[in-house]
Symmetry: none
DNA sequence: CATGAATGAGCTTTCATTCAT
DNA sequence: CATGAATGAAAGCTCATTCAT
């Protein structure tokens, strides 16, 4: 906002860097980490720049060297948080197996991750600011949650093509499976009604029921699993 | 404080003589309405008491006559919002019909309501403060969302008893149906990724798919509907 | 916060490199001076932090860098005021002379000081808050007024030991002399009934009468003075 | 301030009343009593009109019927407090006896009263506001403390005329005696350094020493007492 | 006359941001 | 580049006072 045109031009030439000359990527990460801890604990508004600086172990001024303001810092934090989350997710999904094995694995990985404390907290923060910063929410969903659904859609389409599943609306089916996997878990976690992360057993039972119902509906020969 | 029991009894018998706590319920509602508009637009933290007063058309001081502080006002607002929401919901659910008719009606009513602009906004606000005011989130879910599920459970149990459905875990089944109804809608709405309320057609298709899948899994004779 | 002991030691050795706690003692003094002027004029409650900031020539926020709040600022102000007052006092008391000379000098110094405008104003403020901040009043007296009395007691005890005075209760005698010195002056000043500081002549007459009476009662050979 | 001329004229006709037609002197006293309790506990500034209304058991509005504002109420309170105090005092002073008996009685009555909790609190309040409301302090001293001194002066003059005392400056002598009576007590009480009212024994010893010293200096035959 | 709900100015304090060092 | 003291706008809240009932 206060950078001159020359600096802007420079920045545009190398957008992959996002760092001005002389800036330290480690310090940037350190600030984001501190901000993540404070903001997930207190929320965006209630977390002051002072709090963030203290938690990150840098001075207030330094934050303004790396970010143009609190909102910018927050946007970058959400960007980074989302990317980290979904990269971890995708890494776990691409493994071989038959239909029900792969659906179970997908469901368990997604549910375990999305219901974990840090991810629930990130969701709370993100949803909380969506009204005021709509683009953030949109991008979070678009480059986040939707990516998981697309991954699943791609897989389902392959199974449909192979004749092992019969699905008219693959996108809807993917959404259905996604929601079934977290039925009774994610929403309660979001509202704090379920205080602790779900146990492995709770996850397993939920996913089992999800896959069973999904294959019952879309599977060729009925969905006996496990 | 100094009135004896007799006087208290008197006061209760003739409430028209002296308003409860000497306050004007209409003004109280007016404040809550203004607060609801501002807070759902800006969020709890970003909405200042000044903003609320201006929107409600009262002075700042007046707010403190009716509420002990901003947080108290917020709690009452959430309480009132939730109660209004779920009373409207419950009123629409109890009508006759066969299984698929009743599930479709339930699904449509719930989805239409929960994906509506005001309810989505209320959810955003509520989820946004859950980290800092956990009891509020818990109560919102407990006396809100859960109530809808319980209503559904009661109905499902009746159908199971009547031998028309076969469900081992009714609570899980209710959660599954609930989530299926909003698959691809609610979450996108929450993040602003779907800007407008879903059309009646979108709702109908989603609910149709939900009921079909549900009856496919739990119905006695398979779930052909409509 | 993150500096090790070695660094701390370094910092202490070269205080010009980094100010203690990173703050500027001159600015701190400037704030206290401004606060002193405003508070002695308006009293603690009526002097707003805004007033103090304006008078001190700093911004409101700066005050909260140096003090944790208005009350803290006030406590420090009283502490500093008292210390300055009584250090000035004590510096003037220890000079040689015979009994009546020394008592006269003690009386004149104390009376002139305690009846001066700034000290009277400080007393008004201090007494005014004593009900709500009892510890402040106690400490003010304990480390202030009492110190003057103790100084006098020490001297009187020496004269008693030397056989030049006969006093059974030295503490009471010191209090008596103290009050005699300000008879008709201090209380009137406190209530504003005497608008201007007493003249040197008024002081001289009062002190003369005080010493005469004191030596008449406790002196060995009667109290002829001057 | 907002009363019309007619009402003003009425009020001027009967200034001894200070009550407009229809006002209840008992309620006025009730308000002053409540104000006295709250203000002596919290100080003038910190005591809100709300607090006073609650303590007095009247509504806020009623206070503005009897007084033109908080400051007016306070002035009347100080007026009333002072009058009550000194009327009680004077009532106890005019009894027969020889010189030392009468001085002892005078001293004990004055000291006991002035060092009592309510009077100390009133002094704190009065002194605390003297800077901002100088006339109040002046009048408090003028119609209060000075009255006691004048009473004493009158008595001393009589004794001088009778040849039983030798005093050049009766006013100064009266002040001296006054201060001697409270030496080591009043000031400590004012600052809260002496928490409880002085015991009868403490008073007796202080007064004894005061009278002894006073008669030693001004008495014809030396001041052997008791 | 008595009431207390309503007012909005003003309170203490915190905030994101700047900038001299 | 890193720092944190300085800023002043704005926060939540309380106040003395008014006025319809």
């Amino acid at each position: 906002m206060h950078s001159n045109d020359y600096e802007r031009a420079e920045a545009c030439k190398e957008p992959h860097l996002r760092l001005a000359a002389g800036q330290d990527p480690a310090k940037r990460a350190q600030i984001l980490a501190g901000a993540g801890r404070v903001i997930s604990r207190m929320g965006y508004d209630a977390a002051s720049v002072n709090d963030i600086a203290r938690e990150a172990g840098v001075s207030k001024g330094t934050i303004y060297v790396y970010f143009s303001g609190k909102e910018d810092l927050f946007e970058e934090l959400m960007e980074e948080t989302r990317e980290r989350l979904f990269q971890e997710l995708e890494a776990e999904l691409d493994r071989p197996g038959d239909i029900s094995e792969r659906l179970v694995r997908y469901g368990e990985v997604v549910t375990r991750k999305l219901c974990s404390d840090p991810v629930i907290r990130a969701h709370r923060v993100m949803i909380g600011v969506t009204e005021r910063m709509p683009e953030l929410g949109i991008r979070f969903y678009d480059r986040g949650g939707r990516r998981g659904t697309i991954l699943l859609m791609t897989y389902l389409e392959a199974e449909v093509a192979a004749g092992r599943l019969v699905i008219e609306d693959v996108q809807l089916a993917a959404s259905q499976f996604f929601e079934l996997c977290m039925a009774g878990l994610f929403r309660r976690r979001l509202f704090g009604h379920m205080a602790a992360e779900p146990t492995e057993d709770e996850i397993a039972r939920t996913i089992h029921a999800a896959v069973e119902m999904f294959l019952c509906r879309y599977g060729k020969a009925g969905g006996a699993i496990g």
